[in-house]
C-alpha cells in the first residue's frame, strides 16, 4: 500500500515547540460531553479535572465550553459536575 510520505526528522525530533496543538485528538471520542449553560454554576471543577485541558473558559462571560478538537470523551467532567450540568451522548461519526 502506497502512502503519502510524512515529513519527519530522524529520531522523531520535533523542532517546533508546542506543535502538539496541531494534533487534534477529538476524533478519538466515543461519547460527547454537552454542557447545559442554564444549569452551570461556573464552579470550574470540570476545567480543573479535564486531563486534556479541553474545557475552555470564555474570558468575558466566564462561561465554560468543551473544545471538541481535543476532547477525547473521557467524561471525567460529567462525573465531576456537582449540579449535573454536563450530559453525554454517543458521538455520531
Amino acid at each position: 500500500m502506497q502512502e503519502k510520505k510524512l515529513k519527519i526528522n530522524p529520531g522523531a525530533v520535533i523542532t517546533e515547540p508546542g506543535s502538539s496543538v496541531k494534533y487534534k485528538t477529538g476524533d478519538w471520542r466515543v461519547f460527547r460531553p454537552i454542557i447545559d449553560q442554564k444549569k452551570c454554576i461556573k464552579c470550574y471543577q470540570c476545567w480543573q479535572v479535564c486531563p486534556d485541558a479541553a474545557i475552555r473558559v470564555e474570558e468575558k462571560t466566564g462561561k465554560v465550553f468543551v473544545d471538541y478538537d481535543y476532547c477525547k470523551g473521557c467524561l471525567i467532567c460529567v462525573a465531576q459536575c456537582p449540579v449535573k450540568a454536563i450530559g453525554k451522548e454517543v458521538e455520531k461519526k
Binding site: 510524512l6 526528522n9 530522524p10 529520531g11 522523531a12 525530533v13 520535533i14 523542532t15 517546533e16 515547540p17
Partner: protein, 381 residues
C-alpha cells in the same frame, strides 16, 4: 612504529582518550572492568577531560549516555553479559532516537549457569535493536574499531549507535603489542562531534516523543535506511583509516583470508578467527584449498559481500559462539538466508560457549566434514 604491550581493555581506553570522549557513564562488570578502571585513571590524571559518571547500574549508564548524547556530547560506555542485558531497555531507545555513541561490549556468556567467560550470547542477543555491531579479532582492531566507530556513528547518513564487540578474557585480559596512534593523526581522522539536533534551553525541541501508528513505521523505515546507508560508510571509514594509519580490516564488513582460490571455508566472528587462520595455514601446507571468512559487521549484515565471497566455494562451515535456543546458530541462519540462491553446502557448528576453547582441531574437523561432503549441524566440544 613503536608498539606498546597492553591488554585490549587498555587499548580501548586509549581509543576513548584519543577520541576525546566528553561523557563516560560507567558501571564495571567482568570482563569489561579494566576499561572503566583505565578511563578513570586517565580522567584523574588529567589526561582525558571527560565527565566520568559513576552510575548505580548499567541501565543508568545507558540512560546517561542517551541524555549526554542528546545534549550533543561524544559519549562512551562499556559492559558485558548481564550488564548488557540490564541495558537492553535503553538499546532500542538510543538507536530509535538516532543518537551516535560507541559502546564496547566485552563479550561474556549470559547466565545461567553463571559464567564470567566468553561467548557471544550477550551481544548477538541484542542484534535486532538498531545498533551497528563490529566484531573484532585483536587488541589493535579493538582500538581501531572504537575510532572508526565514532566516524561511522556520527556520519549524518547513519546517526546510529555502534557496538564494538570483543571477546572477554581472550582479548580483554590478554597483553598484545598495540600501536597507539598519535593524537594529531586521530584528530585529523575524526572531526569534532556535531550533533544534528541538540537539547538546548535557548532553542527548545522535543526528543523521544510518542509515535502513533500513523508515523511509527516510517521511523523504523528510516532506521533501516540508515542501517543500509551504514554499509558504505563502514567501508569508507575502514578505507580512510587504512590511508591514515596504515592498516585496515578487510572491506570493513568482512575480512577474507586465503579466499581467492578456496574450495572450503570456515566463517565466524571475533578471536576464533585468529585460530582459524592458523588452521587454514596448516591445511594449505597440506595442499588443501582452505579459507576463512571473518565477519566484522553482524549488523548491518553484508549480504552482497558474502554472496560474492562464497561464489566459488564448494562448502562452508559457520561457527556460532551462541545458539538461538529452539532454533540454531543465529550467524548460520543469517548466512543461509543471504546465500539461499547459491548451490552450496553450509554446515553449522555451535562452539566455544561459556569460555570453552575453540582449537585448531575443531577447525580441522569442520574442514574434514566439508571435504567429505558431510552435511552437519552439530556442537563442537
Amino acid at each position: 612504529m613503536a608498539k606498546t604491550v597492553v591488554e585490549a581493555s587498555h587499548a580501548v581506553a586509549e581509543a576513548v582518550k584519543l577520541c576525546k570522549v566528553e561523557v563516560c557513564p560507567m558501571y564495571p562488570i567482568t570482563p569489561s572492568t579494566h576499561i572503566p578502571e583505565t578511563i578513570s585513571e586517565f580522567v584523574a590524571d588529567g589526561e582525558l577531560k571527560s565527565a566520568m559518571i559513576n552510575v548505580e547500574s548499567e541501565h543508568s549508564a545507558a540512560s546517561a549516555v542517551v541524555g549526554a548524547a542528546a545534549a550533543g556530547s561524544r559519549t562512551f560506555t562499556a559492559t558485558s553479559s548481564q550488564g548488557l542485558a540490564l541495558m537492553f531497555e535503553i538499546l532500542p531507545i538510543t538507536s530509535g532516537m538516532r543518537l551516535p555513541t560507541v559502546m564496547a561490549v566485552a563479550n561474556r556468556a549470559l547466565s545461567a549457569p553463571i559464567s564470567i567467560w566468553n561467548d557471544h550470547s550477550d551481544a548477538v542477543s541484542a542484534r535486532d535493536q538498531g545498533w551497528i555491531q563490529l566484531w573484532v579479532e585483536s587488541s589493535q582492531e579493538a582500538l581501531d574499531s572504537v575510532i572508526q566507530g565514532y566516524k561511522i556513528s556520527e556520519d549524518r547518513k547513519v546517526q546510529l549507535p555502534v557496538m564494538v564487540c570483543f571477546d572477554g578474557f581472550t582479548l580483554t585480559h590478554v597483553f598484545e603489542p598495540v600501536d597507539i596512534p598519535s593524537q594529531q593523526k586521530v584528530d585529523s581522522f575524526l572531526p569534532k562531534f556535531r550533533a544534528s539536533h541538540v537539547l538546548d534551553p535557548k532553542k527548545p525541541l522535543t526528543m523521544g516523543p510518542i509515535g502513533f501508528p500513523n508515523s511509527f513505521m516510517h521511523f523504523k523505515e528510516q532506521q533501516q535506511e540508515a542501517m543500509i546507508n551504514s554499509i558504505d560508510v563502514i567501508k569508507k571509514a575502514n578505507k580512510e583509516f587504512g590511508t591514515a594509519f596504515g592498516r585496515k580490516y578487510g572491506s570493513g564488513l568482512v575480512d577474507l583470508y586465503k579466499m581467492g582460490d578456496a574450495e572450503y571455508a570456515v566463517m565466524g566472528m571475533g578471536t576464533l578467527c585468529g585460530t582459524a587462520r592458523v588452521a587454514v595455514d596448516k591445511l594449505r601446507k597440506q595442499g588443501k584449498k582452505a579459507g576463512l571468512i571473518k565477519l566484522r559487521s553482524l549488523r548491518p549484515f553484508p549480504k552482497k559481500e558474502l554472496q560474492s565471497a562464497i561464489k566459488n566455494l564448494n562448502a562452508l562451515a559457520v561457527i556460532d559462539r551462541h545458539i538461538s535456543l529452539g532454533q540454531e546458530g543465529p550467524l548460520f541462519t543469517d548466512v543461509r538466508s543471504a546465500v539461499y540462491c547459491n548451490d552450496i553446502t553450509i554446515n553449522s557448528y555451535i562452539a566455544g560457549l561459556g569460555g570453552r576453547d575453540i582449537t585448531i582441531k575443531h577447525f580441522e574437523k569442520a574442514f574434514a566434514d566439508l571435504e567429505a561432503g558431510k552435511q552437519k549441524g552439530e556442537w563442537l566440544f
